[in-house]
């Protein structure tokens, strides 16, 4: 049968290179992961700090991301903007991103320029200068970023509201970019305190993927990162979330045409690679629900019933905090948010009730396995995978187990995972209630208004 052949094929490929990736730990605690790939003469260098918005406190939400911006504002050695200028002149690209779980800085350069990237990152790991006047300008930029990505984007606001509703205690309840009022109240001292607390070699993982020799990379890492002093990283409390005991709901009103619904189901994440099977079952559930045009939600809601104009599902099994499976859909013209929500929940509930066909499971499996192969086309995607594993406390080599574990999941396990996790008690429903763009002025035609 075609699907299972593809499955074996991808499996063989993923475990093909035994020595890769190479792992090292420097005496100061910095971890280095190097993956050789000689397909192109380029290299990706990423520095992962194990500090994201989940490590923040109420009142200073968004500080992890604000500090990320400040990291481009100069060190004792280099002036503001010099970092990006030097990388650009070397033909490189640099940027950074902050998530709930970590903050990542990255450069893509020709292999010969890797030492420059390492030198610059090592420098700002220890020598950042936060100037109040630079901070004052940059915090405005971050507020513009928030306006652009959230305030004026109804579907992003919906995600933000869903998380704020789904989580009662865990810091995943606030957005990584931070609440606007926290940004307004933030001081350069908050950013400096964050930097002092978390930026240290023993709280970082350096990932290098590309056309390199691991021993040389190690030598450069020793030279540039090796001299930095470790810090005492504060003990982290285990952050939990009380069990949700029933459906939660939130509505967001914003200017839009189509009702839009996003469902979030509390779901497990990968903790014990040897034992956990549920995260793999949930990955397959997300795929067979919303992974392609052939998946259930598209088939039933877009093609057959025409309730939705688009649907998708997503789930990340690797995460420091609690997991969620999300399903989202935009209504078809003339369909209400209520109809859309009912349709989504009915299709999802049917899996726990009736299970899935072997053919459907195989289809989802083949797609996930093929995606693992496709990921190898990009050095950047490979580096992301390694950094995510490492920052989440999982062994780097676990990437190789993923195909095997996916392959072992049965239709019964799918049904059982659906019954347990795709149930209403752990569900949060977020509905976008579209508002007209140009509401008629309410008072215009009211008789007697002149009195």
């Amino acid at each position: 049968m075609i699907p299972s052949r593809a499955a074996f094929f991808a499996l063989a490929l993923a475990s093909g290179v035994q020595a890769n990736p190479h792992e090292f730990t420097l005496p100061n605690g910095l971890r280095l992961v190097v993956k050789e790939d000689h397909r192109a003469p380029t290299v990706v260098h990423q520095v992962w700090y194990r500090a994201g918005s989940m490590d923040e406190a109420p009142g200073t939400t968004g500080v992890a991301h604000v500090l990320e911006h400040m990291m481009f504002k100069g060190t004792r050695r280099f002036g503001p903007g010099e970092f990006s200028r030097l990388v650009a002149e070397a033909g490189g690209r640099d940027n950074a991103f902050t998530s709930t779980d970590f903050t990542v800085y990255h450069e893509q350069v020709h292999r010969d320029r890797l030492p420059l990237a390492m030198q610059l990152e090592a420098d700002r790991m220890a020598n950042l200068v936060i100037r109040p006047e630079e901070f004052a300008r940059e915090i405005k930029v971050v507020m513009e970023e928030r306006r652009r990505s959230y305030e004026d984007r109804p579907r992003s606001l919906l995600i933000e509201n869903l998380l704020a509703t789904a989580f009662a205690a865990h810091p995943y309840k606030w957005p990584t970019i931070g609440w606007m009022q926290d940004l307004e109240n933030m001081s350069w001292r908050d950013a400096r305190a964050w930097y002092k607390q978390w930026y240290a070699p023993n709280n970082a993982i350096v990932v290098v993927v590309g056309d390199v020799e691991p021993e040389k990379v190690l030598a450069w890492a020793r030279r540039y990162y090796g001299a930095l002093a470790p810090k005492a990283i504060p003990a982290r409390k285990a952050l939990g979330e009380p069990v949700q005991r029933g459906l939660k709901r939130v509505t967001v009103k914003a200017q839009a045409e189509l009702p839009y619904v996003r469902l979030g189901y509390k779901a497990p994440v990968l903790r014990d690679v040897a034992k956990d099977w549920e995260p793999f079952a949930v990955s397959l559930l997300a795929e067979l629900l919303g992974g392609s045009d052939a998946a259930r939600l598209h088939q039933v809601l877009v093609r057959e019933r025409r309730v939705a104009s688009s649907v998708s599902a997503d789930y990340e099994m690797i995460s420091r905090g609690p997991g969620m499976l999300f399903v989202e859909a935009a209504a078809a013209q003339g369909r209400s948010g209520a109809e859309l929500e009912a349709g989504l929940r009915e299709v999802i509930a049917r899996i726990a009730a009736d299970g899935v066909a072997a053919e459907e499971l195989n289809r989802a499996r083949v797609q996930l396995l093929a995606q693992l192969v496709y990921k190898r086309d990009s050095f950047f995607a490979q580096a992301l995978e390694l950094g995510e594993l490492g920052s989440s406390g999982l062994p780097y080599r676990d990437a190789d187990f993923i195909p095997e574990r996916l392959k072992a999941i049965t239709t019964e396990q799918i049904r059982s995972a659906a019954a347990r996790y795709l149930a209403d008690d752990g569900l949060t429903v977020a509905v976008l209630d579209p508002q007209p763009l140009n509401p008629r002025p309410a008072s215009a035609a009211v008789p007697g208004a002149k009195h």
Binding site: Q108, R153, R363
Partner: protein, 422 residues
């Protein structure tokens, strides 16, 4: 094991070119480093071939190709592709319409996925029921676009830059309502012929297998005619449009029709724009708008060359109450650059970055596919990528100044502000 068969690094992109029996142009880049095959099949069938009255027909036709063919129903087709682990993506822009298909290179998977694509392209049925559904989806998307400030800004700017030209058309519920299933069939017959079909294949395939694949994808196409989009008439003066919207930011776009794909000024404008607004933190726009004043998260400029004069575009988003200042600042940065060009130091830095960064433009199969597909569609020389670094390096200060002075008249920039200050 995988590493042992990897292509030698730094070998560049070797394009194998031929013409299929149908007349379709084929470009093939063989690479066995990964068990992946990427294919793009594209036609001169983008929105350039829409009429103003029925804007949206071109994109709807492309969507309808997936809705069922002589051999496979819509559901069968999507299942065959998913079962093979393949990924099908619509490629659609002003000039081009087509698909990109990524598949595993193992024979069973590749064959199943490619056969399905071949049938979609060459014997679509355009079922009436699916047509009504896809049309309703297009209407929904168009209406949604009209409520989102960034989409509104883009739609209005293109209309201003290209009055009466299809590059400036946007589909609306009215234009979509006029489109019939027969219009789709007609559009397909007129524009999905082999005369302008371009097949691009990258990846783990022998040359013989690539030849067979190119035949399979195109041999059943009708000949069709290769007609160019209507010429663009230059605007004599730019206009400004302010659109009310309750957004927290003003979305500001400036633009003018400027650059064709085969333009002799391509490199001077491309290299010059790095300094103006293409080079991120190295560019003047981001430095002035963001770094010095904190007006915006992003501020940029770019040239997007098409068969006819594609846009030179400048954009930023900023809090409503400072939109006037930000717009004036962007205009003065552009004006100043057009007048004096980059400094010697800036030009040198731009060239270093673009030449040094060239390997990053071709370091994945997907990037190679996109680059080579453009070379094929626009009939650029096959050594275009090989020559790229030298062409960039050869650009002089005088060329940049002259090109900007001749090609970008700041007075002719059309301006749209959505969510304008009251």
């Amino acid at each position: 094991m995988i590493l042992a068969v990897a292509a030698p690094a730094g070998a560049g992109v070797k394009i194998d070119h031929w013409i299929a029996n149908s007349g379709a142009q084929v470009n093939f880049v063989e690479s066995h480093a990964l068990p992946i095959v990427d294919v793009a099949v594209e036609f001169a069938a983008g929105s350039a071939y829409d009429s103003g009255e029925r804007a949206g027909l071109a994109q709807l036709t492309l969507a309808m190709l997936k809705a069922g063919s002589s051999r496979y129903s819509e559901t069968e087709a999507s299942r065959r592709i998913a079962d093979a682990g393949a990924q099908l993506r619509e490629n659609f822009d002003l000039d081009r319409a087509g698909f990109a298909l990524r598949s595993l290179s193992s024979e069973a998977e590749r064959t199943a996925a490619m056969q399905t694509l071949a049938d979609m392209l060459q014997s679509p049925l355009f079922p009436a029921e699916a047509f009504e559904r896809e049309k309703a989806r297009a209407v929904a998307n168009a209406r949604e676009a009209e409520t989102q400030p960034d989409r509104v800004a883009e739609r209005r700017l293109y209309a201003l830059m290209y009055p009466e030209h299809p590059y400036g058309f946007s589909e609306t519920s009215d234009t979509l309502a006029l489109i019939s299933r027969e219009d789709v069939e007609r559009h397909y017959r007129a524009h999905y012929g082999s005369a302008r079909a371009t097949v691009t294949i990258v990846g783990d395939l022998s040359r013989d297998a690539a030849r067979t694949l190119a035949e399979e994808l195109t041999s059943r196409l009708s000949k069709g005619t290769d007609f160019a989009p209507a010429p663009v008439t230059a605007r004599t003066v730019g206009t400004t449009l302010r659109v009310a919207h309750p957004s927290t930011q003003s979305h500001v776009l400036l633009g003018v029709a400027s650059l064709t794909r085969g333009d002799p000024d391509y490199f001077p404008l491309f290299v010059g724009n790095y300094t103006l607004g293409g080079g991120g933190f190295a560019s003047r726009l981001l430095r002035e708008v963001r770094e010095k004043r904190g007006y915006a998260y992003s501020a940029y400029s770019y040239f997007r060359p098409y068969e006819r004069e594609g846009p030179f575009l400048v954009g930023l988003e900023t809090r409503r109450d400072q939109a006037r200042e930000a717009l004036e600042l962007a205009r003065s940065v552009v004006g100043e650059f057009v007048k004096h060009g980059p400094t010697e130091t800036e030009l040198k830095a731009a060239k270093k970055s673009l030449v040094g960064g060239f390997p990053l433009r071709i370091d994945t199969n997907r990037k190679i596919l996109e680059q080579v597909a453009a070379i094929g569609f626009y009939r650029l020389p096959l050594d275009w990528l090989d020559e790229f670094p030298a062409r960039v390096q050869g650009v002089t200060l005088a060329q940049v100044r002259s090109a900007f002075a001749r090609r970008i008249d700041p007075e002719k920039l059309s301006i749209v502000v959505v969510g304008a200050p009251d």
